[in-house]
Structures are given as C-alpha cells and as structure tokens.
C-alpha cells in the first residue's frame, strides 16, 4: 500500500532536535524507537521533565530507569539544563545516590527539581559546587534525614526548596555564599548532631544576610534541644533571612526568638508580609514581630490547633501598643474558630491598628462555634480604621469527593 514518503527523517539533525524540544519528555524519549535515524536524537533535549504518572519504577524497572538517567548525564550529545523528576514511589537505589551527587555539580545545569517518596540514605558529601544552578528543589520525604552537603556553593542560585533534610549546624553560613538567593523554603528538617564541630559562633561579618531574599519559609526545627549549637543555628538562620519581604515562620521559631533574644538588635526592615501560626499563649510573639518589622503591611495569622482560653493581660497590653504603632494594612485570619478568646484578640487588633484597609477572615462553616451569633459579634466589633473593609468567608467542605464550595459575603 502506498504510504507517506518519509521526508521528515531527511531534515537535518538540528531541526529534528528542535522539534523534539517541543515535546514533553515522555514523547521525546519514545521517538528513539522510530528508526535508527531517530535513536538517540532525544538525548540532546535540554529539559528532562517526568511527573508522577509518567514514571513507573517498580523494583524490576529501576535498573532501566537508572540507565536512562545516566544517559542524560553522560552521553556525549547530552546537554540537559533542567531536570524535573517527581514520583510518589520510592527509589531506593544506591546508584541513584551516585547519580544525584554527580548531577548536583553538573556544568550548565540550571534547574534541579527532584522529589521521591524515599531514597536510599545519602552518605555525607563534603563539597558541592555548581556555578550555573539557579533552581534547586529537593524532596525525598519529610524527616527522611537525607544529608544535605556540609559545604556547598551555588553562586547563581535563586530558589532553594528543601523538604526533609538533615542539615549541618553551619547551614546558614554556607547559605550566605548563595547571595543571589530570592526564595528559600526549609521544611521538615532535622539538625545533624554529628556536625557540632562545624558550629561558627555569632560573627559580625557584613555577609550575615541574604540581601536579595524575597521570601522565606521555615518550619520549626525537629529535635531542637536548645543547647548552644541549636540556638546558634536558629539565630544565624533568622539573621540570614531577615531581609526578606515575605516570611512564613513556624510559631516555635518566633516564640523562641521572643523568649530567648527579646532585646536582640535584629530587625526585619524589608518585611512586608508574614504568615504566623498563633495560639492564645503566644500573642506576645505577635507583638514582638510587629515591633521588629516596622514596615510590615500584611499579616496572615492561622490557628494551628486549639487556640487556648485565657490571654495573658500583660502580653495583650504589649500587643495593643505594638499594633498602634504598626502600619498594618491587610490582615488575614484562617482556620480560627470564633471562640471568645479569639474575639478578644480580634477586638484588640481592630481597636488599635489604625491603618487597616482590608481584613479577610476565613471560617470553616462546619464548626459549631462559627455560627451566626458569633459572627454577629465579630461584625459588630468597632474598628479604629473606619475605612477598613471586612470580608468574611465561609468554607463549606462537603464530602471529600466534592470540591469545597467557597462563598464570599462582602460586608463593608
């Protein structure tokens, strides 16, 4: 039967490779089966991107997957710039660790974004340098304790997101060498007690701060003992991120700062937006942040569990005073339950924050305390800033088979 003439294979390599760059990795790799002409054309694809449902690495297929990964790294025609691999599977192969350590230092690599449910434990690597890396996102499972390199240098790195790593005590110091960093997220991490010897004491270098940092998120430090090394780590990290415009810090970090270093000269001068988790016994920490961040405009407070019952009167007074001198424009409250102590907090904020423009309160409509009466009390609270607009939103979560239906009721 007369079929198509194969004219596409007559196109020059460069054009065929160019065509392949427009294909998602899965499709590009498959073209290797077409004919000898096409066999390894896909290897020069600059983007390797494979997401969950595209990788099937049950045990028997792992060696083949590793061959593939090695090809991407080592083949003479390979010039990969961005690698994105994510899978809910485990990849417990020592070969992967070798590949991973090699790839973190690859010339020309710009983006490395890898997430597996679990990998083999990484042996400590001492020095990891990559001059071209711009994005580094790693997630091998919360608290998995994979060791992050003790010394690293990524001079062009702009984004670092780490989940579940074992960090050495000098992590902040190493981080300060990545002065182009703009976005930092450190979640579910543990401090490596074996790295005590690496602790650097507080120092007065100019280079204590990541000056280009725009946003930072830090969870609390799992296994924090409060000894000298732990405190030093935390203090250095906070100092390093203190120039960020947007912070999302776990409550225990703020609490810790507030209790242990209340008079520290640390300031968050660029901070415009912060997200905090709040309970009644920690309102002092909220006041503390307001004082330390004179340019704060937007505050997001979220309840991280039971709010608690009684406020400390002294802390309330301090909070009132901090709120009065702050320039808060936007407040967002999420996951709170409108119990009376919460209303007391809101009343205090409404009554002392004079520059408020927008208040957004999102409530779980299912909870019995988020009822009409409590809402009425909330809506009637006097506000110092008369022009402020209050948005009250109810989230109706139906069963988990439906999407939550969110309804906005605007109430000037």
């Amino acid at each position: 039967m007369e079929g198509e003439r194969d004219r596409i294979s007559d196109l020059p390599d460069s054009l065929l490779e160019h065509i392949l760059t427009f294909l998602p990795t899965k499709y590009a790799v498959r073209t290797g089966v077409l004919s000898k002409r096409w066999k390894d054309l896909w290897v020069s694809h600059p983007y390797l991107s494979l997401r969950d449902d595209e990788i099937g690495i049950q045990t028997v297929k792992v060696p083949k997957f590793m061959n593939f990964l090695n090809k991407i790294l080592l083949h003479p025609q390979a010039k990969v710039k961005k690698i994105q691999l994510s899978s809910q599977e485990r990849l417990e192969s020592p070969e992967f660790i070798r590949w991973f350590q090699a790839v973190m230092m690859k010339d020309d690599l710009e983006e490395l974004d890898i997430g597996f449910r679990k990998i083999y434990h990484t042996p400590q690597s001492y020095l990891t340098v990559c001059n071209t890396l711009v994005i580094l996102k790693l997630d091998f499972g919360a608290f998995s304790g994979n060791k992050f390199p003790k010394s690293f240098c990524f001079p062009n790195l702009k984004t670092m997101h780490l989940n579940g790593f074992l960090l050495a005590y000098n992590f902040a110091n190493q981080l300060l060498q990545c002065q182009n960093l703009e976005s930092l997220i450190i979640r579910n991490y543990i401090l490596d007690v074996m790295s005590h010897g690496l602790v650097l004491n507080d120092y007065d270098d100019q280079n204590e701060v990541l000056s280009n940092l725009s946003n930072a998120q830090m969870d609390s430090c799992y296994g924090f003992h409060g000894d000298v090394s732990d405190r030093s780590f935390l203090k250095n990290m906070i100092k390093a991120v203190s120039k960020a415009k947007d912070l999302d810090l776990s409550l225990s970090i703020i609490e810790y700062l507030y209790r242990v270093f209340p008079d520290d000269m640390l300031r968050f001068n660029n901070l415009k937006h912060i997200k905090l988790y709040l309970q009644s016994s920690h309102v002092g920490a909220l006041g503390f942040i307001l004082q330390k961040a004179p340019n704060l405009e937007s505050l997001h407070i979220e309840s991280d569990g039971p709010y608690g019952s009684v406020h400390d009167a002294l802390m309330l007074e301090q909070l009132r005073s901090s709120c009065s001198s702050a320039n808060l424009k936007v407040i967002r409250m999420t996951k709170f339950i409108l119990e009376d102590p919460v209303l007391e907090l809101v009343q205090l904020i409404f009554g002392s924050a004079g520059s408020l423009e927008d208040i957004v309160i999102e409530l779980d409509a299912q909870h019995e305390m988020n009822n009409f009466l409590q809402c009425q009390k909330l809506l009637k609270l006097p506000r110092l800033s008369e022009d402020s607009v209050l948005h009250l939103k109810w989230e109706f979560g139906y069963s988990h088979h439906y999407f939550g239906h969110s309804h906005s009721y605007y109430h000037p």
Binding site: G3, E4, R5, D6, R7, I8, S9, D10, L11, P12, S14, L15, H18, I19, L20, F22, L23, P24, K26, Y27, V29, R30, T31, G32, V33, L34, S35, K36, W38, K39, L50, D53, E54, I55, G56, I57, K61, V62, K64, F65, N67, F68, F372, L373, Q376, W394, H407, S408, Y409, P412
Partner: protein, 232 residues
C-alpha cells in the same frame, strides 16, 4: 505584495526557480539572513535564495508581511485609547464605593428595626445563598479581561491557519525558515510538527503518519523498547 505606506527601500529576492520577488526592506529583514546582507552595506541588486522555491518564498513573504503589519497596528494610537478606557473604569469603581457606604447605613438601620434574631438569621442566610449574582460578576469580569488580548488572539488564529497545510509544505517552510533565519516562522512550524507527533497515540501511529520505516531488527527494536519500559 505590500500594502503599507512605508517609504522604505524595496529589495529584490530571487527564488531557486529564478522568480524575482520585490519586497519592502522592513518586511524582508524579518529574515536575519537578509538583514545581515543589508547591514553589510553592499548594493547587491538581487539577493539569490538558492534553496527556496518560489511557492514557499511567496508564503514566507506573506508571513513576514503579516508580522510587520501586526507590529505597526499595535504601535499606533490604539494603546492610548485603551489607557483612557481603563482610567475611566477606575473612576467608576471609586464611585461605587460611595454607594456601598449607603448600603452599610441601610443595613445597620435595618438591623435595629428587625424583630428577632431568628428572622435576621433567615434573611442573612438566604442572602448568603444568592451567590448566583456574584458568580455572574466574576464571569463578566473575567470576560472583560480576555477581551483585551483579542489582537494577539487574532494573530494566533491567523498563524494557526497559516501552518495548517500538508506535510510537504510544512517541511518546505521549515527548511526555508531555518535557512532564512526567521525565528517566528521557525518556532510556529516546529510547534505544528511537534503537535502532530503529540497527537499520535503510539510509536506505530507516528511511523504511519510520517512514513517512517523502522530499520531495526526485531531484537534491536525489542531492546530499545525494553530500555524505555519504565515510562508509563
């Protein structure tokens, strides 16, 4: 060929089959190759394009003309008009806030007049369920947003029609765009070919669509398929 009133130079391009095309310089220099020749400064007369057939060259020139026209249209006063419209919209919104204040006062006095809380609760809850109008508002707002991109959309539609041709023509365009170094055309045609590949549901379908014959032995092919068997 050209419709604009540009008083620029006119260049002569000669196709592979010796046809001469007169093209305005502003249109022709969409091709980096031609642009370099022009900037080199010598007075050439006719620029020979040895690998491009007249049929393809005609289409390429049409593409370049369209893109020059598009840029011109979007540079002229239309932007100013857009800004004026946007500014008056903002002023209107400002006035709407005024009426909200009134609403508040009405609501507050209502509150004091109503009898039981229960009645209020019913009213409040039924108002709450009136999300139809809010949704409409959101939809209208979104539609307005999209309307501003209509020029871009129009160009995109034109481009899609332009590349909706048989494969041989596509390859000719591809080779011409590559030779002449016309990025916009090259990217669009490449995307088109890639889209055709993407639509094939299997390697076999790709082979049939493009006429590619496998020259692997069965063992070789099996080996390669095994290598990528981890792909789901």
């Amino acid at each position: 060929m050209s419709s604009s009133n540009n008083s620029g130079k006119v260049l002569k391009l000669k196709s592979k089959d010796n046809q001469i095309f007169e093209v305005e310089e502003s249109v022709a220099i969409q091709s980096e190759l031609i642009k370099n020749v022009v900037e080199a400064g010598c007075d050439i007369g006719v620029i020979p394009l040895l690998t491009v057939h007249s049929k393809t060259l005609r289409n390429v020139i049409e593409w370049c003309q369209k893109h020059v026209d598009y840029v011109e249209e979007n540079d002229s006063g239309s932007n100013e008009e857009e800004i004026k419209n946007w500014e008056s919209e903002i002023c209107e919104e400002g006035n709407n806030n005024g009426s909200d204040d009134e609403e508040t006062k009405n609501w507050e006095s209502e509150e004091n007049n109503n009898g039981s809380d229960e009645e209020e609760a019913k009213n409040w809850e039924s108002e709450g369920n009136n999300d139809g109008s809010n949704k409409e508002e959101v939809e209208n707002w979104e539609w307005e947003e999209n309307n501003d991109g209509s020029d871009e959309e129009e160009l995109e539609n034109w481009e899609s029609k332009f590349v909706d041709v048989d494969k041989d023509s596509l390859y000719a365009l591809l080779l011409a765009a590559d030779y002449l170094s016309i990025d916009s055309l090259l990217e669009r045609v490449i995307k088109q070919v890639a889209d055709v590949i993407k639509q094939c549901r299997s390697v076999e379908e790709v082979r049939q669509t493009f006429g590619i014959k496998s020259d692997f032995t069965p063992e070789e092919e099996e080996e390669i398929r095994e290598e990528i068997s981890w792909i789901d």
